[in-house]
């Protein structure tokens, strides 16, 4: 069965600093990988996704993620964090038709200091 690990439960960065959120997955075949963001009291919003092709994918809000098969990782990055980026970030892996039956990581809560 597939699984997702997000090693960092809580990260604090200063506004304007760079950000990297880690995600490791376990899946026997080529995974379909996603990053979602959940702001307080909000639903989940898709930031970006990877299925195949270029291993560096660009998403919304200035986020990007890099798929590294050799490391089973799909880390999320942003060069300069804004205070509005404070939220919970979830990495997820999907199988069957790409986006179905997602398995989520435990999430990383991002706090941004001014």
């Amino acid at each position: 069965a597939q699984s997702v690990t997000q090693p960092d439960i809580h990260i604090t960065v200063s506004e304007g600093a760079s950000l990297e959120l880690r995600c490791n997955y376990s899946y026997g075949a080529t995974p379909y990988l996603f990053w979602y963001v959940q702001s307080p009291g909000q639903g989940l919003q898709l930031l970006l996704k990877y299925f195949s092709g270029d291993t560096l994918v660009q998403g919304i809000k200035g986020f990007e993620a890099e798929f590294k098969r050799s490391q089973s990782s799909f880390n999320l990055r942003k060069p300069s964090v804004h205070w509005s980026d404070a939220a919970e970030y979830f990495c997820a892996v999907g199988i069957y038709l790409g986006a179905s039956k997602l398995t989520f990581g435990t999430g990383t809560r991002l706090q941004v200091t001014l």
């Binding site: 379909y32 639903g43 989940l44 898709l46 996704k49 038709l97 039956k101 997602l102 989520f104």
Partner: protein, 114 residues
């Protein structure tokens, strides 16, 4: 992207009672899912809501506790039966845009069981 609404947005219920959560999508979708997010936890898939047939439940979830209906391609309900405080969670429905391999989530229903 699909626009998903859920009713109610939140509720406080007494133990032993049942609550039915509605999920409405603004377009016809083939795949619809129900997830649970327990306090401070990640999302866990409860079941796949199948149109015109019985839902498919994940390990640890049973129909008697979480009956699901899917009468058409735009609507589904999840009932949380015989509730206990352990059922206090956010319940989210989601739909899959197969063409874009994306999964969209509703805003969630925050349930508190006293």
């Amino acid at each position: 992207s699909a626009v998903i609404s859920q009713k109610p947005s939140r509720d406080i219920c007494q133990r032993g009672t049942s609550l039915t959560i509605q999920c409405q999508v603004d377009s016809q979708v083939t795949m619809m899912f129900w997830y649970r997010q327990q306090p401070g936890q990640s999302l866990t898939l409860i079941a796949t809501a199948n149109q015109g047939s019985e839902a498919t439940y994940e390990s640890g979830f049973v129909i008697d506790k979480f009956p699901i209906s899917r009468p058409n391609l735009t609507f589904s309900t999840l009932t949380v039966s015989n509730m206990s405080p352990e059922d206090s969670s956010i319940y989210l429905c989601s739909v899959v845009d197969v063409g874009h391999n994306e999964q969209f989530f509703g805003p969630g229903t925050r349930l508190t069981v006293l």
